[in-house]
Assembly symmetry: C2
Homo-oligomer: 171 residues x 2
């Protein structure tokens, strides 16, 4: 029974680690397509946080004598949701980028809510604390997105107008 719980805990740490690796790729794609300076700075900042989260999880895996899942295995193992999120991040519309970012933050929040509890049940306080601290960063990022829906819609409408103008100019 203890072995079973231990196994579940390691599986959850691996999931969280693979998730952060995917989020890092998604943030890169978003940064590459974001023109707004302020949004880009927030994304860059969150990318640094994401790298730190991933490192902390890698250390917990090491403490459990486990290895991170190979990067190529992430979409198969981590689930189609994350694959979908990364794909969608390639869309260049600001509003949809913001939506996908908001969804991703909540995937991370839920993952850490679960990891924290599995870790406590397994008596691994170090992992529980990391899950709690990482979650706070994700919550802060989710709140930043939620505070800016107006701006995202405004930017999207401008992008679309620009695209329509360009199309008219070239006809």
């Amino acid at each position: 029974m203890a072995d079973n719980l231990q196994q579940q805990l390691v599986e959850h740490i691996k999931d969280a680690h693979a998730m952060e690796a995917n989020v890092s790729r998604m943030l890169e794609a978003m940064i590459a397509t974001t023109k707004d300076e302020e949004i880009r700075r927030e994304l860059e900042h969150h990318k640094e946080e994401t790298a730190r989260h991933k490192q902390l999880l890698a250390e917990r895996l090491e403490a459990h004598d486990a290895e991170p899942s190979k990067v190529k295995d992430i979409t198969a193992q981590g689930g189609a949701v994350m694959k979908g999120l990364v794909d969608l991040a390639r869309s260049e519309k600001t509003a949809k980028n913001a939506r996908d970012g908001f969804v991703t933050e909540h995937l991370e929040i839920a993952t850490y809510e679960l990891l924290e509890r599995f870790a406590r049940r397994a008596g691994d306080e170090a992992t529980a604390e990391i899950a709690k601290r990482n979650r706070r960063d994700e919550e802060a990022m989710a709140q930043k997105i939620a505070a800016n829906w107006d701006k995202f819609v405004e930017l999207t409408i401008r992008e679309e107008d620009l695209a329509a103008d360009t199309e008219r100019a070239t006809v």
Copy 2:
């Protein structure tokens, strides 16, 4: 420019409608694999809300002389995220079901945040109000999930123990 905004609005209503259709399928899959009575009741209740949301959006599409996207087009048009969510819902682990439910609710919240703003910008107050009201139901559902992480972890550990016991008994 007005035409362009109108077109974006209709696209957002279609997205929201397709999303609700997917969520409905996801909820069915979750209901089928949920043993806990209380959770199942919440899911059933939310399925009724989902059907109502979908109907309200269909009426707004009609008001704009537009048609819902065909169900078969949903994953192509609505994005891989939703497809992924539906696939993941087939997993029978309570904790992952809860996580996917939480993520889905936030996809819905973000979709309605955007739809409400596009509708207001396009002067379509009826759609804006529906987006706002639907969003409140999704927020309530997200809060119900968030209030029960302990229970979801508890149930998952019990499921896993049961599975391990069964495995041992049959060896």
